[in-house]
Structures are given as structure tokens and as C-alpha cells.
Amino acid sequence: MTATGTPMVKAEGVSKSFGSNEVLKGIDLEVGAGEVLCIIGPSGSGKSTFLRCINHLERVDAGRLSVDGEVVGYRQHGQKLYELKPKEAARQRREIGMVFQRFNLFPHMTALENVIEAPLRVKRVPKAQAVARAQELLVRVGLGDKGSSYPSQLSGGQQQRVAIARALAMDPKLMLFDEPTSALDPELVGEVLDVMKGLAASGMTMIVVTHEMGFAREVADELVFMDGGVVVEAGDPREVLADPKHQRTRAFLSKVL
């Protein structure tokens, strides 16, 4: 763990309910800058909700969640928290890239247009500069020749790689991946994981909700097993996967491995 300075993500007792359904029941976590955290767990365990709380797509009900020392979704004055205006929340979000299970590329734009959209509109980067950077990113995810293709003309794996390039175009300091390979055909999973490995190797801070245990073992600095809205077990991925301490972790792993 990098002990230098504030952690990139810090969660203390983060809780979230949808109506009477308590999805997160006090999550404590810390992710240092440059670290890769993988979250595994059965569906409905709250992994995706937690991820969505980090960039304020969902509102945290209780506890504290901060990114790079800044409380997510609120401004702190003394002990009091003030809800952020939409504009301020948007400013926080643009530093956090997110990749979705279902890609969510903009279907009416080409791959290149998808990548330059946010830099152009949100950051007001000059067009030539945005295009050059987007082209660079598309090459980086192995799609340098697909800039003019519409999402519907790309395979699932290619779409997800464009989605990664789109998130990277905002130069985020943190990347969130919400089951990025779950909607892909098995033979396309590898190409997306390879891009993510490269990203991890370049020092990007990443939180990855995944079912890819091989990826977790190889790339993650820390592995968290969530179930029923709580962190059941956390630690070095090789140790957790090889020798889970908790009964629930063991039961889950015996089903997926």
C-alpha cells in the first residue's frame, strides 16, 4: 500500500438504501493512488451500487465517501455537509472515469465522436487537440482504424474498448469498471482485460467490479469480497482466492472458480 498522502478513495461506513431495501450496510474501504482494487461478490451484494456511489450517480445515505480527499456529492464546512449543486457534482465526476457493463456508447456518434464529446463540451478543449488525443487513445486500446465506425458496426469487445477510451479522454485520476466484461461473448473478454491490464500497469487507480478471478489474481493489489451489503473479506487477491478465511467467501468461490 502506498502510504503517501491521502488515499484516492476512502469509504467509512457508507450506507445506501432504496426504499426499505438496505443495499449497502456500512462499507469501509481505502484505495491508494495507483492501486487496483477488485470487488467480487454475488449479484445483489451491492458492488455496483457502491461503485455508482463513488461518482455520485447514487446518493450516499450515511457514512463518508471521499475521492482524493474531497467528500463525494457534498461540500464540507466545519462539521456540516451541504449538498452540491449539479454543476459542482459534474465537476467532481469528470475526474472519475466510468465504464459500464453495457458499454453505453452514444449510438448516434462514431467511435471518435464518442471519445471527443466530453472533452469538447465539458472541458472545452479545442477540436483539433481533442481529435488528436482521441486518436491516440483509440490506438492505445487497439482501435486506431475504427474511429469512423458507429458503435453498431463494432463488436462488443471493440465497443467496450471505445468506452474505455471515452472515459480516459477526460484524463481521470480514478477509473471505475462496473462488470466491464459481463456482457461480452467469451472470446472477446480477453481483449478488454488486456487493455485494462495495460491501464493498471501505467499506474491508473482503478476499482473493478468483476467476475474475472484470473484478472483479479494477476492485476489487483487488493481484493474485496462483498455480500449482503457489507465487506466480508478483503486482502491480497492471491491469498483471498487461494485460502479464503470466511465461510461465505469460500461458498462463493467454490461456485465461480
Binding site: N55, L57, P86, K87, A90, R91, R93, R94, I96, G97, M98, F100, R102, N104, L105, F106, P107, H108, M109, T110, E117, A118, R121, V122, Y150, P151, S152, Q153, A163, R166, A167, M170
Partner: protein, 323 residues
């Protein structure tokens, strides 16, 4: 034995080179009744045309005389202006109302609901009569502090101009229908799109204008084309205001002098048909433009039928109003 193998190859798996399967040369299925039906229909139409050409009541010489009459073409231009202006205002207002209906703000939401309730719930004809009488109720409005003379009195004399009343009346009614069409379009866009845009740090306005509305257009355009065509014909109701410079109004005025109502009805219908035909071509190209990035197979007729069904409620209602 070898025959059955060949048959199987002809099915799914492409045969290896050299063992190419023969193309099937089967006798085509015939549809004799289609031909019979077509012949009967053509005959009926021909008989009708021959008969119609001989009937003096149609007044064909009058049709030829008035179809390019300057008064008629000028009136057709008025009808076109009424359609364009009221549609432009109607679409803009409808878009605003649709966004309001989907707003998280309950006040804004209720206002939009109330508007649609009133303007969709009363006939256009009645609304047009009402707007024609509007200046009798409100000759001017006073903007200022109530029960004092502090403020500004705004003259509403422009509400005595029949053309202005017509545009306002038609546009306000149209907005209610457009609001529903636009709302359906906005709701048709996958929620993941808004989420992705939000996650990129785009504001709500940017998300709407750049991401949601362009995708909603694909759903909005076909029924809107339908509305434009519908509006073109609804303009004939401006007689209620009364405004008589539109196509149907002028055709009626001329026939009142010449005692030839039937040929002038035909003349007016020909002009309406011409405009709707042009609009249909325009709609085709608009639909093409907004289906970028969507590879879905689009049999032009099938799609139009589907969209008509989608816009069924407003259209049916409109026709009811005209009757």
C-alpha cells in the same frame, strides 16, 4: 445416399469447392387471385374516371380555370405560412412541455400536465373560435402591482389580427400533441445513455441536447411528419376565427360568387395533395438523417405504419376535431 449428403450441404454448411450444390429450380408459387383483384380494381377505377369525366357537375373546365388562379395560389401560400409558423412554435413549445413533464420539479410537471389536459381536451375548432373572441375579453393586460396604477399596460391589439390569432391558436393546440410525441421519444432512449453522459461530467442540459434529444429524434420524427401533414389540413378550420385568406377559405369565397362549389373543392384538394406529397418526401429524408448509427432494417412502409400506430391517439383525436 450421395444425394442426401448433397441436400444437407445445400442447407447450412457451404459445400467444399468442387462439390457445389445445384441451385434450386422449383416452380414458383403462383398468386392468381392477386392478379384478378388488381384487374377488377383497375377496371373499376377506369370506369369511375370515364364516368366522372362526363359528369358536368364536376365542372372540369372550372377546375382547369381556377387551379392556377392567382388568388388560389396566393391562398395556398397563406396556408403554407400558417402551417410552417404554427408547427415551428408548436414543436418548440411541445419540446419545452415534454421536458417539463419529465422534470423532477413537481410544480413544473403539474403545469405541463395541466396545459396538455386543457389543450388536448378541447376541440381545435372551439379553441380557434375562442381565440377569435379573445380581444373582447382582454383588450389589454396590465403588468404591475395589483390595485395600484404602478406598472405597465400592454395593448393586446395584435390579437385582432386574424392571421396572428390563427397561428397562435393552431400552435398552442399543436404543442399539446407534440408534447406527448416528444415525451414518448425521450422515454424511448435507454437510461444508460443519460448515466454515461452524467458520468462524463456533462450537465443535464448538455446531456439532453447532445445525447438524449438526438436519439429521441428517431422516434419523434415520423409522428411529427404526420402532425405537419395533419396541421396543413387543420388550417382549413381557421374560418372559425374568422380568417378567410387561406386556401379553403378563398376557394369557398370564389365558389360563392361563381356558384361552382364542386370544381373549387377539387382545386383546393389538389393543392393540399401537392403540399402533403412534398412533405412526405421531406419526411423520408429527415428519417434517414436521424437513423444514423442504427443498422436496423427499415422497410419504409412498415416503419411508417408502426409510427402511425404510435401516434394513433393524437391523430385520431385530430380527425375527430375536424369532423
Amino acid at each position: 445416399m450421395s444425394e442426401s449428403i448433397q441436400a444437407r450441404q445445400a442447407g447450412a454448411v457451404p459445400p467444399p469447392a468442387g462439390a457445389r450444390a445445384e441451385p434450386i429450380e422449383a416452380v414458383k408459387l403462383r398468386h392468381p387471385w392477386r392478379i384478378v383483384f388488381a384487374i377488377v380494381l383497375v377496371l373499376a377505377v377506369v370506369l369511375f374516371l370515364i364516368d366522372a369525366a362526363q359528369r358536368t357537375a364536376y365542372g372540369w373546365p372550372f377546375v382547369g380555370k381556377y387551379v392556377f388562379d392567382k388568388r388560389i395560389s396566393a391562398a395556398a401560400f397563406v396556408t403554407l405560412q400558417l402551417t410552417v409558423y404554427s408547427m415551428v412554435i408548436g414543436v418548440a413549445l411541445g419540446l419545452a412541455l415534454a421536458v417539463m413533464r419529465l422534470s423532477p420539479n413537481p410544480v413544473v410537471k403539474s403545469v405541463a400536465w395541466l396545459y396538455v389536459w386543457i389543450f388536448r381536451g378541447t376541440p381545435v375548432y372551439v379553441q380557434l373560435v375562442f381565440w377569435g373572441l379573445f380581444s373582447l375579453i382582454y383588450p389589454h393586460v396590465f403588468l404591475g402591482v395589483p390595485w395600484t396604477s404602478l406598472g405597465y399596460s400592454l395593448s393586446l391589439s395584435f390579437m385582432q389580427n386574424a392571421f396572428v390569432i390563427a397561428v397562435i391558436g393552431l400552435a398552442l393546440n399543436e404543442a399539446a400533441y407534440m408534447a406527448e410525441i416528444v415525451r414518448a421519444g425521450l422515454l424511448s432512449v435507454d437510461a444508460g445513455q443519460e448515466e454515461a453522459a452524467t458520468a462524463l461530467g456533462m450537465s443535464w442540459g448538455q446531456t439532453m441536447t447532445r445525447i438524449i434529444i438526438p436519439q429521441a429524434m428517431r422516434v419523434i420524427i415520423p409522428p411529427t411528419g404526420n402532425e405537419v401533414i395533419s396541421m396543413l389540413k387543420t388550417t382549413s378550420l381557421v374560418a372559425a376565427i374568422p380568417l378567410t385568406t387561406d386556401l379553403y377559405g378563398v376557394a369557398r369565397d370564389i365558389s360563392a360568387v361563381t356558384y361552382t362549389p364542386i370544381p373549387l373543392l377539387i382545386v383546393a384538394s389538389l393543392w393540399y395533395l401537392l403540399f402533403t406529397s412534398i412533405l412526405m418526401v421531406g419526411q423520408y429524408f429527415l428519417e434517414k438523417r436521424f437513423s444514423r448509427g442504427v443498422n436496423a432494417r427499415r422497410p419504409a412502409r412498415g416503419r411508417a405504419a408502426g409510427s402511425l400506430a404510435a401516434a394513433g391517439a393524437p391523430d385520431g383525436n385530430d380527425l375527430g376535431g375536424k369532423g
